[in-house]
């Protein structure tokens, strides 16, 4: 039942070998913890001829300080992120966000890289082959039409990762391995607002690590969901604030669970002002114009927008008070 498609499994031992394989093979897929891709493969959402298992890459599960940055290997499990002393000391928001992902057994297997690169989701996509076949498939997979936005030319499946917005608010960089070596880009540039093609990684690239700059101020993440375990975020907001006296000196805000990619929110209008009703309205407007929740989840878009607004305000109250 729900058998996996036939594929050849590759188990590279080093990052070089993994990158080489990724460049050689046509349309390879990668697996690490398995909690996202194996579930999707069981539903027939892809049929890769080759699967590269990254879980043997011992060089990618280290957490180490390099200069003034903390580098976290892409294979670090979420369970470890919730318990690691260095992470908890410097970036408690990241540890807290990791603790909100899925359930504890998922977190024991799921990795940082896998969480970031997880597939986008939609009620018309995360269904069985039989279900999707009976619905003429969809724009994300095998079909001609998006059932969420009629006549659209792109897929509107939603990105529901919890860690991306936190890393984006923290100003983290993604370290990407490819044949020529490493390249570095802001985490937000890993993503593209297109549900079917939501990652910007080239076919021969592998996300190797995340580099976190020192946090000057306070960061936090808040997640809206129905059940306090297992559930994906219906909305999620991360904020990193540097407060100087009674003004917002620096602020980065990112959202998830709303669009086809995790997005930075333009909060430039808040800088240099105190956090109060006026700036709360500015934030609210900025969020509203950035987020476009659609009917991709069972809880309706109206609810997700309302919860996002309210939770963002609560989150800012909290970081401001402690900032």
């Amino acid at each position: 039942m729900n058998a996996l498609p036939d594929f050849r499994l590759h188990r590279p031992a080093t990052l070089d070998e993994a990158v080489r394989l990724k460049a050689q093979i046509e349309h390879p897929a990668c697996v690490a913890g398995g909690s996202d891709i194996l579930v999707n493969l069981r539903r027939g959402l892809a049929k890769p001829g080759d699967l590269i298992d990254l879980s043997g890459l011992r060089d990618l599960d280290a957490i180490e300080r390099i200069g003034d940055e903390l580098w976290i290997g892409a294979l670090t499990t979420l369970a470890r992120l919730t318990r690691d002393g260095a992470v908890a000391a410097a970036y408690p928001a990241l540890a807290e966000a990791a603790a909100t992902v899925a359930g504890p057994t998922h977190r024991a297997a799921a990795t940082l890289g896998g969480n970031l690169c997880q597939d986008t989701r939609c009620v018309y996509y995360n269904q069985s082959e039989w279900w999707r076949d009976g619905n003429a498939y969809c724009l994300k997979h095998c079909g001609e039409k998006c059932h969420v936005v009629a006549k659209s030319d792109r897929c509107y499946a939603t990105y529901h990762g919890d860690l991306a917005p936190v890393l984006m608010a923290l100003g983290a960089s993604a370290i990407v391995a490819r044949a020529g070596g490493l390249r570095r880009l802001p985490v937000e540039n890993l993503f593209r607002e297109d549900g079917a093609h939501y990652l910007t990684l080239a076919p021969d690239e592998i996300l190797a690590a995340i580099a976190l700059p020192p946090l000057n101020g306070r960061a936090a993440y808040v997640k809206g969901r129905v059940r306090e375990s297992v559930d994906f975020p219906l909305t999620g907001i991360a904020a990193a604030l540097k407060r100087e006296g009674d003004v917002i000196a620096a602020l980065r805000v990112a959202i998830t669970g709303m669009n086809s990619a995790p997005l930075m929110v333009d909060v430039s209008k808040l800088i240099g002002k105190p956090w109060n009703d006026e700036t709360a309205t500015l934030l609210s407007n900025a969020l509203r114009s950035r987020a476009t929740a659609l009917a991709t989840t069972l809880a309706g878009p109206k609810y997700r927008r309302r919860a996002m607004q309210g939770l963002a305000r609560r989150l800012m109250d909290q970081v401001w008070a402690h900032g």
Partner: protein, 578 residues
Amino acid sequence: MNTQDMRIPRADASQDKSAAKVSGKARYAADIPANGALVGRILRAKIPHARIVSIDVSQALALEGVAAVCTGADCPAPLGGAATEFPLARDKARYRGEAVAAVAARDEATAEQAIRLIRVEYEKLPAYFDAKKAMGEGAEAIHADKPGNILREAHATSGDVEAGFAAAELTREKSIKFGEVNPAQLEPNATLVEVGRDGGLILHAATQAPQDVRACVAQGLGMDEAQIRVENAYVGGGFGARSECAPFEIIAALLARKAKRSVRLKQTREETFLGHRGRPETHVAVKLGMMKDGRFTACQVQTTQTGGAYASRSAADGAAPGLYALHARQHDLLRACANLPPCGGAAGAAESIAGVEALINEMAGELGLDPLAVRALNAPRELADCLEAVKQASGWAERRGQTPKGRGLGLACGRLTEGDDGGVAALALEVSVDEVTGKATAHKLWIAAHVGGALDPRAAESRIRTGVWMGLGRALSEETRYVDGKMLHGNLLDYRMPTLVESPDVEVVVIGAADAAPADASPVDPRTGANWAAGLSAAVMPALMGAVHEAAGVWPHTLPLSPDRVSDLLDARDRVKK
């Protein structure tokens, strides 16, 4: 193999079985070893309502490794003698997901491939997904013998209802919608059918009704019951889904007989959801008459269910017994048939009680009366005992109205089962409401139940906890969702049964349990076979509604009270304030 006689469970097997469950030795239907068994798969309709013009199985049959293909033509006998439901659809498919054909093949991949090679020609018919449209004028009849698409109707009146309302000092009405809920038993449906040398069949079935499965399989296959044996040593929950023979048991038997070999038919979680037999979406319109001191004078309940394309055969009679000593009562039930998966047989007694309980809370509030005192005033002795026990256990008198901001305490009563036998219960529930997320969280629940007779108190407590647990799911987050008959909730992420984190402390007081032998098996009343989930959900839901009112000042009208629903209520409240 001996296919004679049902195995009779030993009374002292309870300890062995619990040891087997915790050591992994307990074999459920999908765990029974079966070397060389064929793999069964079911082809399901992809359209919600259609006439089946033709089914061409020739390509599937020609595929190497396929041992048998069955269609409705193989089984002319209706399921358990029901008028119109067949194990495999014959003339029509009436919901998206109905079994249309089935194959048995050497392995899963071959079975899957064979399913795709079956060609079914359909003639689409208009489909209906809610009671109103299904019963609307000119609607296509889903069943030829059910014009107007009314599956069931029941009317019961006692006393002089009109006079009761005339005498009332306060009369109020309220409409409540209860979402459709699924049993969502944790063990997916599975059956292994072995074929004996004598041609007899042994079914290892995930069922709580082995006798019924045996009778229905015999009937479906035109065999003698003596040739069929049903084993069901361990069953991973039922909650209404397994209280009678389901179509897939007969399908598996049809395949095995045709292939003359053992067939294992395992179903996905999605298919298990499609099996449904849970509670349909139900609208309840309640009217209650009350004196200023809280005495009830008359009660009228109109219940409308959006039933599935079929319903369980073991249907309740539809007269919802009231909880209180009230003579003037009227209850009308209408169950429409819609192009949705088959629902259970329950006639909405639980929802009716929940509706009345919710209105009692609102009217007590309006009259400035204590909802517990109002109930005690009208309650027969056993229920009054429960109310008193809950009052003591919860510290009701001290807590009521004293909960901190954003918190509330709610109360309601219910029956353990939906009939008028089997005991009553009262419960109090403390809840908080988060104004930002709209989330209602249950913190503590106190329940006192009069179980009415011989029942091991420990087993009784366990069943009460199960009932409360399922009631909380139904009250807070569980509901099924469809678009145009397409099931959107067919997995355990979107069908949100609560996790342990959502599980509040529950304090149970068992009243009236006399000594009885320690009971075993799934969480049903061993005396009646009924589980207490439906009955207790009838109390949990209005108690939650009352608690949410105290916490947030809104009276809910739609269940479950998921965060989006509560948010809508809060927004409506704030619009009025402005």
